[in-house]
């Protein structure tokens, strides 16, 4: 299987080589990626658990959602930036990794999830304070499943990425 030449170009950039061969940068970026999984995932998880009525039940839904949101976004930015750096460091290996492509599908589904549920659930959480709608619970459950899917695929990349080499 041959890969698009742009991947070879990326792999030969200074940044790609520096991350891949520098010793410390790769594990440090990987560590930050994991740390932001804890931050982004933690905030996402407790938002979802609140929507499902499983955690922080004595707090208003809107208070939990709105107050965790800035930290969730910070986590999302760090996880995305470090993820792009990790991709940049070994694009050819990832191109041949089935788990990587499944992960990208999950990533696209995360975008669709946001588009589908923003109007009814995320835009105005105060509406959910009196009653948590079925749609909000569905959004929460799907959000957790998608996030767990991203983690599992991410982990599997380390195990199947070397197949076609």
């Amino acid at each position: 299987m041959t890969e698009p030449t742009i991947l070879e170009w990326i792999q030969n950039t200074w940044l790609s080589q520096a991350i891949r061969e520098g010793g410390l940068p790769y594990p440090v970026i990987g560590g930050l990626h994991l740390l932001s999984i804890a931050l982004f995932g933690g905030m996402l998880l407790f938002t979802d658990l609140r929507l499902l009525g499983w955690a922080m039940r004595d707090r208003k839904v809107s208070e939990v959602m709105l107050q965790l949101r800035p930290w969730k976004w910070l986590g999302f930015v760090v996880v995305t930036v470090t993820g792009i750096l990790l991709m940049w460091s070994e694009p050819i290996r990832l191109y041949h990794s089935p788990s990587f492509w499944v992960k990208m599908v999950f990533f696209a589904l995360v975008g669709l999830h946001a588009l589908a549920f923003r109007p009814a659930v995320y835009r105005d959480p105060a509406r959910l304070d009196s009653q948590i709608t079925g749609q909000a619970k569905l959004a929460a459950a799907l959000s957790m499943i998608l996030w767990a899917g991203l983690i599992v695929c991410g982990r599997l990349i380390a195990f199947d990425a070397s197949f076609d080499q």
């Binding site: 790769y26 594990p27 440090v28 990987g30 560590g31 994991l34 740390l35 999984i37 804890a38 931050l39 995932g41 933690g42 905030m43 996402l44 998880l45 407790f46 658990l49 955690a55 922080m56 004595d58 707090r59 208070e63 107050q67 965790l68 800035p70 930290w71 767990a148 983690i151 599992v152 982990r155 599997l156 380390a158 195990f159």
Partner: protein, 154 residues
């Protein structure tokens, strides 16, 4: 004594089971990762509140009470999955400097969490002490996580 325990772990039925299928180890690792979102997420919400960075409409004591059971669930998930992963290659892990460092930090983090940190979230705790405890807590858990990542590299 320790060596025979490590050998026993490596040859335990669960180690054989995990090693028998390629997908089990990454599956356990995934649960380990989800576990640290539960663990560090629940602790970070309280710590950020102690530092004055979020959830300001609730008191630290209220948040800590809300999240205590989730922190314990996170600890349980981490210890169970961590133990299973350790079992599969106990001798190698035992000799790995990053692993040794991580375990030391983990012990400190756990003791800290259930002693000093617990006191810092109580109503009437001094604000400066509480902030220091929150900062130390975030730093400790971050170190545990980063050291965990380094196990594969050192």
């Amino acid at each position: 004594m320790l060596n025979s325990f490590l050998h026993w772990l490596v040859n335990s039925p669960w180690s054989h089971w995990i090693n028998a299928y390629e997908w089990i180890f990454p599956a356990i690792q995934s649960v380990h990762f989800i576990g640290f979102a539960v663990l560090i997420g629940s602790i970070a919400i309280v710590d950020l509140r102690l530092l004055g960075f979020g959830m300001r409409r609730q008191s630290p004591a209220e948040l800590a009470a809300d999240l205590k059971r989730w922190t314990l669930l996170g600890v349980a998930m981490m210890l169970c999955t961590g133990f299973l992963m350790f079992s599969t290659d106990a001798i190698t892990y035992h000799n790995n400097p990053s692993f040794q460092f991580k375990m030391t930090c983990l012990m400190v983090a756990l003791v800290f969490h259930f002693t000093i940190h617990r006191r810092a979230v109580r109503p009437g705790a001094g604000p400066v002490g509480a902030k220091l405890a929150a900062g130390a807590s975030l730093l400790l858990w971050t170190t545990v996580l980063m050291a965990g990542r380094m196990i594969a590299f050192v």
